[in-house]
């Protein structure tokens, strides 16, 4: 496995962790009685993500790593819709798709 592939896979893993962490943060804002618990889960996941991302940045440039992180937008939108029960409209999905397309283009040409 090349260093670049290793770096890209680590960034993808970070994106999934990011999506779960963000859902925990939103839950901390919604559930005041369990605020500390959800906040702790989110921060713990962020620490793990930070550690992995720091290692990933030694293998790929930030201009490559950052766009690949756009996968987290899809993870967050899916979790927002099905876990947080947010109203994710067609327009919002199109917006997310354009954001992901844009950052993918950035990543391909990084």
């Amino acid at each position: 496995m090349t260093q670049t592939v290793t770096g890209v896979l680590l960034v993808v893993l970070c994106s999934i962790i990011e999506g779960i962490a963000q859902t925990s943060f939103k839950r901390s804002a919604l559930e005041t009685l369990r605020r500390a618990r959800w906040l702790s889960v989110g921060i713990a996941l962020f620490v793990v993500e930070a550690l992995i991302y720091t290692i990933a940045l030694q293998f790929v440039e930030v201009s490559t790593a950052f766009p690949i992180g756009s996968i987290s937008f899809v993870v967050v939108t899916i979790l927002s819709r099905y876990v947080l029960n947010e109203l994710v409209t067609g327009v919002r999905w199109i917006g997310v798709a354009l954001v992901v397309a844009g950052v993918t283009l950035l990543a391909v040409h990084a």
């Binding site: 963000q22 943060f25 804002a29 290692i55 201009s63 947080l84 409209t89 917006g95 954001v99 040409h109």
Partner: protein
């Protein structure tokens, strides 16, 4: 389609984008100072001895506090994609300070991100507020 967004939320989102950009750039600079392909414990130990990682940690804390305020006022699926505007600023800052190249395809990618964020910003920012449209 355009809806009024509270000024406070706009300010918080702008701060989130600025902090996100700063963290990305400084983190990259910090990561470049760590030993290459070292074992994980060595990497962590080396990071703890780098003052620049304290700056990254401080910015993260500020970012987290600001982000929780954002999430109190808006949907996660609304706010998080908007922070993708930091891609635009990171590319600009990477070109300026890290010598990374920005060409025409990257400019197109940035344009797509901006259009996507513009579309999302036109949707209702808080679907729990009770007056969200179906769009």
């Amino acid at each position: 389609m355009a809806r009024a967004i509270p000024l406070n939320l706009v300010a918080r989102l702008a701060l989130a984008i600025g902090l996100d950009s700063a963290v990305q750039i400084i983190w990259k600079v910090a990561a470049m100072q760590l030993p290459h392909s070292a074992p994980l414990p060595s990497t962590v130990e080396a990071a703890l001895h780098q003052p620049i990682f304290l700056l990254v940690a401080a910015l993260f804390a500020w970012q987290l506090v600001n982000w929780l305020k954002v999430l109190e006022r808006s949907d996660l699926s609304y706010a998080q994609p908007i922070t993708s505007l930091s891609f635009v600023s990171v590319f600009a800052l990477s070109a300026l300070f890290l010598g990374e190249h920005v060409d025409a395809p990257k400019a197109l990618g940035i344009a797509l991100v901006i259009v996507g964020v513009w579309l999302i910003s036109g949707t209702h920012h808080d679907s729990r507020a009770g007056n969200a449209g179906t769009q």
